[in-house]
């Protein structure tokens, strides 16, 4: 297990270095960073001032040196100062990351619970109404554009039916899981979790079908084990492995969705900050900070999925 973890950690480290390098190279392919900083300043800017800025921002050093410095600052969560608000980027992110994490966690729970249970139901009650409902649910989930399903959810459940509040996250108070705090996240989480749950449902269904057909399930049936015990204890434990691995693959799409869902539902998370503050204000340090946040969340989740996978399936650890 220790060796497995060490190898996974190493590969995650390489991923982070690579991803930051890609962003760094992008910034250097674009216009001169100093222009991004100055933006369309109305005042006259002297050569001396530009040279001073360069020195201050470390732009007068060599490229590898700049990259190393930049990564070193990142490692200490020092992401510079936002140009639009003149506050430290790390502070802005700290304020907004909670919303994004709540959204991601809620959607994740929705995806796993609904996906796995619908997958089981579709496999056990194969070729019945349950199966068809489940498959249509999966089909829709994988084809629906999230920005559109979010708008539709607001239109149907927020405007026409008026069941759910939209466009606000309310005044947070009282018990964290009280309905008054949770209800603002219900629609966004479902919209965000739907495509992922569709993937999980399909995987669970096909894994379950294969396992229900296997010899050891037949033996358990023959020896008279209760059907529910067979499904939950004998079959599910093996059937849940493929959906868990795919959780890793689904994650990237999933975080992309979080950006869109936050924007449509006006949730004050990192995605909204990235689009509404960073992109519109040309606030380069803030945008870079939010991108790293997303990379960080992705990498952490992927690592957790790996550990979970290794815990459930011992064969993985020895590969």
């Amino acid at each position: 297990m220790a060796r497995f973890l060490a190898r996974r950690l190493l590969s995650i480290f390489i991923s982070i270095i690579g991803a930051t390098a890609v962003i760094f190279i992008l910034t250097r392919l674009g216009p001169d960073p100093i222009d991004l900083y100055l933006g369309d300043a109305q005042v006259e800017v002297t050569e001396e001032f530009i040279a001073m800025m360069r020195a201050e921002l470390g732009l007068d050093r060599s490229l590898p040196e700049q990259y190393a410095l930049w990564v070193w600052d990142l490692a200490r969560f020092d992401m510079g100062q936002s140009l639009g608000t003149l506050r430290p980027v790390s502070e802005i992110i700290r304020i907004h990351i909670g919303t994004t994490l709540k959204l991601a966690a809620g959607a994740w729970m929705f995806a796993v619970i609904v996906g796995v249970s619908m997958g089981i139901l579709a496999a056990v009650r194969r070729a019945t109404l349950w199966d068809y409902v489940g498959r249509v649910f999966a089909l829709f989930g994988q084809a629906i554009p999230q920005f559109w399903s979010a708008v539709m959810a607001i239109l149907i459940f927020g405007v026409i039916l008026g069941w759910m509040p939209t466009g606000t996250i309310g005044n947070y108070d009282g018990f964290p899981l009280a309905w008054g705090n949770v209800k603002y996240y219900v629609l966004p989480c479902i919209v965000l979790g739907w495509p992922a749950s569709a993937g999980i449902m399909r995987l669970t269904r096909s894994a379950m079908l294969e396992i229900l057909d296997s010899e050891y399930i037949k033996l358990a049936r023959a020896k008279g084990v209760a059907p529910l015990t067979i499904i939950l204890k004998h079959a599910l434990r093996n059937a849940v492995i493929p959906p868990l691995t795919s959780a890793f693959v689904l994650l990237a799409d999933y975080l992309n969705g979080a950006l869109v869902v936050e924007i449509v539902f006006s949730l004050p998370g990192i995605g909204t900050v990235a689009l509404n503050q960073a992109v519109y204000d040309n606030d380069w340090p803030l945008l870079a900070g939010t991108v790293f946040c997303f990379i960080g969340i992705y990498v952490t989740f992927a690592f957790l999925a790996d550990i979970l996978y290794a815990l459930i399936d011992p064969r993985i650890r020895y590969e």
Binding site: G18, V151, S206, N256, L275, A302
Partner: protein
């Protein structure tokens, strides 16, 4: 076999049907074998995209406040929001209504289909070529080449694509070239891993060794012996990922990272219309519905093609 008696036929379960029934039956089997409805949707999409200038009833760029937010003529009067100023004369002209600047939604959707087709087409062709090449190289050569390519795929996957797109927009400005670059950068990734594992299987086949013994060059082995073994898989992945590419293009357009306005794209139509959704829903709902239908049809066709060409992939890609 022609000399069978009635009893023998019965025993073998072979039945003679009257010709009409036989035709109906084969037509039914044909639709079962071919995903007919998705194919019709896709054919319509391609038709609309190609003949957009002919089919369009209005100029997709010109509007006017007089024709702003006209509901589609087929919408019952009871469903029209009271805040809208309906001009019956103008309204009758627009098949799917007009948007917030009075532009014809139907014509804009036709031209939007064009953008989706072209962008997804270019992306998938380039992704197919680069992804398959990298996958084969990675699987066939092994060693450090393999290591570098797999690492690259891992790193690429860790990048939040839409955020990176926003970074690019901030740095380089919104443009069609940028959109194409982003889509091409997105398209190659799904191919590499699957093609690589497929190549690992194909390269252990005896005929590859024989080709080597016979003195074939590396290039010849790769193109004539390995490539035919993985091309089916690549086609299946291509079909299955066109849907997600169309979704990605729409999401980029929605976020303002796609083809710059006023060029109509389905994603940007949803984005522009959503502020007025409570009163005028058609400029938002209809393009989204179009994306949804097209992507669903593509996924259907992809699934069917996978079962046809490469049933083993079911486990890998399901």
């Amino acid at each position: 076999m022609q000399m069978m008696t009635e009893i023998e036929r019965d025993l073998l379960g072979i039945r003679e049907y009257p010709p009409v029934i036989r035709q109906l039956r084969s037509a039914w089997l044909f639709t079962r074998r071919w995903p007919a409805i998705p194919m019709v949707v896709l054919a319509t999409l391609i038709f609309c995209g190609v003949f957009a200038p002919v089919l369009a009833t209005h100029d997709p760029y010109s509007g006017g406040l007089r024709s702003r937010h006209q509901p589609p003529p087929w919408l019952p009067d009871g469903m029209i929001h009271e805040s809208l100023r309906v001009n019956e004369e103008v309204r009758a002209e627009h098949l799917l209504g007009t948007d917030h600047t009075g532009r014809d939604v139907f014509s804009r959707m036709l031209f939007g289909a064009r953008i989706s087709l072209v962008v997804a087409g270019i992306a998938i062709v380039s992704g197919f070529i680069t992804g398959t090449t990298l996958g084969i190289l990675s699987g066939y050569s092994g060693g450090w080449v393999d290591e570098v390519i797999t690492r690259l795929v891992d790193i690429w996957q860790a990048l939040p694509f839409l955020m990176v797109a926003l970074v690019c927009v901030l740095l380089f400005g919104q443009s069609t070239t940028l959109l194409l670059f982003l889509m091409v950068a997105l398209a190659w990734n799904p191919f590499v891993r699957v093609i690589r594992s497929q190549t690992l299987v194909v390269k252990t086949q005896p005929y590859v060794d024989l080709a080597r013994v016979a003195g074939c060059s590396q290039f010849r082995i790769l193109t004539r012996h390995i490539l035919p073994g993985v091309i089916n898989t690549a086609v299946v992945i291509a079909t299955l990922s066109v849907g997600s590419l169309i979704l990605a293009e729409a999401a980029l357009s929605f976020l303002g990272a796609g083809v710059p306005p006023p060029t109509p794209t389905w994603g940007s139509m949803v984005s522009e219309g959503r502020a007025y959704i409570t009163s005028a829903w058609w400029p938002t709902v209809l393009p989204g519905l179009a994306i949804f239908l097209v992507v669903m049809s593509l996924n259907f066709t992809g699934d069917w093609l996978r079962d046809r060409l490469d049933p083993r992939l079911r486990q890998l890609l399901d």
